[in-house]
């Protein structure tokens, strides 16, 4: 009785310690976001006040109205949306198909093909930046949104991750389907994808957010104002207006992360609610 109480106390002491650590880590990660959000409602003078003061002295929305009046925010969001959605969709389709083929339609080259894919993940962006630029220029795709999307599509991350998830699907399920003459496409859509839904959804969100946040590549190839993405628009404030635009930058940044953040929250729910429990008894 006594010992169990001690154990309980020790247990909860450990829990409190780890929760404190977790809270600290969360604060470190959240601080920039909270700082961004608060600063977007501050006057410029307020932002540069010394000391750590998060909440604005005077709550203003002028940063937002300035940004909205000077920039065509709906167009910027639309461009980003187009690039991120297209990138995500094409990548998901190719990656899901590739992963399925690697796992469930194996041949003697499958292993090698997979490692070939994986190797591409280790090639740094700076190495392929120039060849990609030249290729796009030959294709006449510089200064187009398709030009932003195209090089992003060749990426094995999603193949790798979805393949891992699919490997968790018991082989016997696919064999049962093969015996019932289920075509591969039906097998993928009706059996494999429902069973790997959490991984597929989270991967889709990850790809979308990644593409949304892409800065350097669009900066390199987009010239026209009407083709700018929302992340690119940030450069107008940091570059041309220098220190004057910090409140505006914060407002723009807040607007730019709103959508990915919203998607992420949806995805989180879908990932956590693991509806799946196997009918397989291994």
């Amino acid at each position: 009785m006594k010992s169990s109480r001690i154990r309980k106390a020790r247990h909860s002491a450990g829990q409190i310690f780890w929760h404190l650590v977790l809270i600290l880590v969360v604060c470190i990660f959240l601080y920039p976001f909270i700082y961004m959000l608060c600063s977007s409602f501050k006057k410029l003078k307020d932002i540069f006040t010394a000391g750590i003061r998060l909440l604005p002295k005077e709550f203003v929305t002028s940063n937002y109205s300035t940004v909205l009046s000077r920039l065509n925010v709906p167009l910027l969001l639309g461009n980003s949306m187009f690039v991120a959605t297209l990138t995500m969709l094409v990548k998901m389709v190719t990656s899901v198909l590739a992963a399925y083929a690697l796992v469930f339609v194996p041949n003697r080259f499958s292993g090698k093909i997979f490692y070939f894919f994986v190797i591409t993940m280790f090639v740094p962006f700076s190495v392929i930046m120039l060849p990609n630029y030249l290729t796009l220029s030959k294709l006449g795709l510089l200064n187009t949104l398709i030009g932003v999307v195209l090089p992003q599509l060749a990426d094995a991350t999603a193949i790798f991750r979805i393949r891992q998830a699919m490997r968790g699907v018991p082989k016997s399920l696919i064999e049962a389907a093969r015996i019932d003459k289920v075509p591969h496409m039906t097998c993928l859509l009706k059996i494999v994808m429902p069973l790997t839904k959490p991984s597929i959804v989270s991967m889709a969100i990850f790809l979308f957010v990644n593409s949304w946040n892409e800065y350097f590549w669009p900066l390199l190839i987009l010239r026209s104002n009407e083709l700018q993405t929302i992340t690119l628009a940030m450069k107008y404030y940091t570059g041309s207006e220098g220190a004057n635009g910090w409140g505006n930058v914060m407002a723009l940044a807040t607007m730019s992360i709103a959508l990915p953040l919203f998607l992420y929250l949806i995805a989180q729910r879908s990932i956590i609610s693991t509806f799946m429990s196997s009918g397989i008894k291994e």
């Binding site: 049962a176 015996i179 019932d180 003459k181 009918g279």
Partner: protein, 376 residues
């Protein structure tokens, strides 16, 4: 060749091109029969089943099903139904969907699908569970759903890969009867893989015993039990397994250690001029006499199983087991009393059965053609 025969002709299977998992398999599974593939793990029995299903390629030789060569036919085109060891139920589909999925693919009209599903659910007492997900079912119920799914296909070949191995002992007994019942519904060619000898004896019409990729014996449960082709089969079938001890034959006497007993004439003929044999006796055929008998024994251990008394004893240092009536009173000075129509002799070198004398009781349906089918 009958309608739904399965014939293996010189079939080989190798994964790495070096070791043969299946070595020159010649086997005919007659149409409509319940054939059991029995053997210890790694003997190749599941590989044979998977070759029939088309899930495993054939390295050499020919496989015929219903007279057609099947080596390169896709699993979906072989018209087989299969029950997997882990049931392979789709976890995200209800019982009903699981059963109907194959029919949906085959474009069976909805009315017919529902009819078939209800029929199968009825047979296996699952009607109340049709809207549940597999995870909401017990192991026995999942196993029955898997049977339902295979049953509605009404395929001429019904393959089962250790379907009962995940069930507890009690459920297994009930499920064995269910399997026979299902086979009787439309008598498909039934191929059943197991490592459980009780399942093999109770479900099988014929049993193939495999060891180390080679068929050791093919026969009815009776033949396998009463006329084991070799020491492996003799010891594999039966629980506790058959007592085998090495013995010598001198001047018509069976000698174990320093003790000996005369061998009846009918056995002497079969033993021939062998000097060394392996003597086999099943635990249930062990009988004792007091004071005098064939071989003196020393009791080492006893277990009361309620329905029987299991006795471990020695004959001249050779450990043996006997199962006796639970009320048998074990005393000192016991002798093994050999009933000469209930023993077995095997060649000491080849382990093959030497055969049985004419007129030995309870072996009336002995069929020599199914006797030793060792292929090497």
């Amino acid at each position: 060749m009958a309608e739904n025969d399965i014939v293996f002709e010189h079939v080989y299977k190798s994964y790495d091109g070096k070791v043969n998992v299946i070595d020159d398999l010649n086997l005919t599974i007659p149409s409509g029969q319940r054939m059991i593939l029995l053997g210890p793990s790694g003997c190749g029995k599941s590989t044979i089943l998977r070759m029939i299903a088309g899930l495993e390629s054939i390295t050499g030789g020919d496989l015929y099903m219903g007279g057609q060569r099947m080596n390169d036919v896709e699993p979906g085109d072989r018209n087989v139904a299969m029950v997997f060891q882990n049931y392979a139920l789709y976890p995200h589909m209800t019982v009903k969907r699981n059963i109907q999925f194959g029919m949906e693919i085959a474009k069976v009209p909805k009315e017919e699908r529902d009819k078939q599903t209800d029929w199968a659910l009825e047979i296996l007492n699952l009607t109340d569970y049709k809207d549940r997900l597999p995870r909401q079912l017990s192991g026995g119920q999942r196993q029955r759903v898997a049977l339902c799914r295979a049953l509605v296909k009404k395929a001429p070949y019904f393959l089962l890969d250790e379907p009962l191995s995940n069930l507890d002992a009690q459920l297994r007994t009930a499920a064995r009867a269910e399997l026979v019942k299902i086979h009787e519904v439309y008598r498909p060619t039934f191929i059943y893989v197991t490592h459980d000898q009780i399942e093999a004896m109770t479900v099988g019409e014929r049993i193939v015993i495999l060891d180390k990729s080679i068929i050791q014996q093919l026969g009815s449960p009776d033949e396998i039990y009463n006329r084991p082709a070799n020491v492996f089969v003799a010891q594999f079938i039966g629980s506790p397994s058959m007592n085998i001890c090495e013995a010598t034959v001198e001047d018509g006497r069976l000698c174990i250690g320093g003790e000996s007993t005369p061998i009846p004439e009918k056995w002497r003929v079969l033993i021939g001029d062998r000097k060394k044999v392996k003597f086999g006796i099943r635990p249930e055929h062990v009988e004792f006499t007091r004071g005098e008998g064939d071989f003196p024994i020393q009791v080492t251990y006893m277990e009361n199983h309620g329905n029987q008394l299991v006795l471990a004893f020695n004959i001249e240092g050779n450990p043996m087991m006997g199962t006796l009536d639970p009320f048998y009173k074990v005393e000192a000075d016991l002798y093994l009393d050999i009933k000469w129509d209930k023993i077995h002799f095997f060649d000491a070198d080849t382990d093959k059965n030497v055969g049985y004398p004419e007129g030995v009781a309870s072996f009336t349906h002995f069929d020599p053609s199914s006797f030793v089918t060792l292929q090497k």
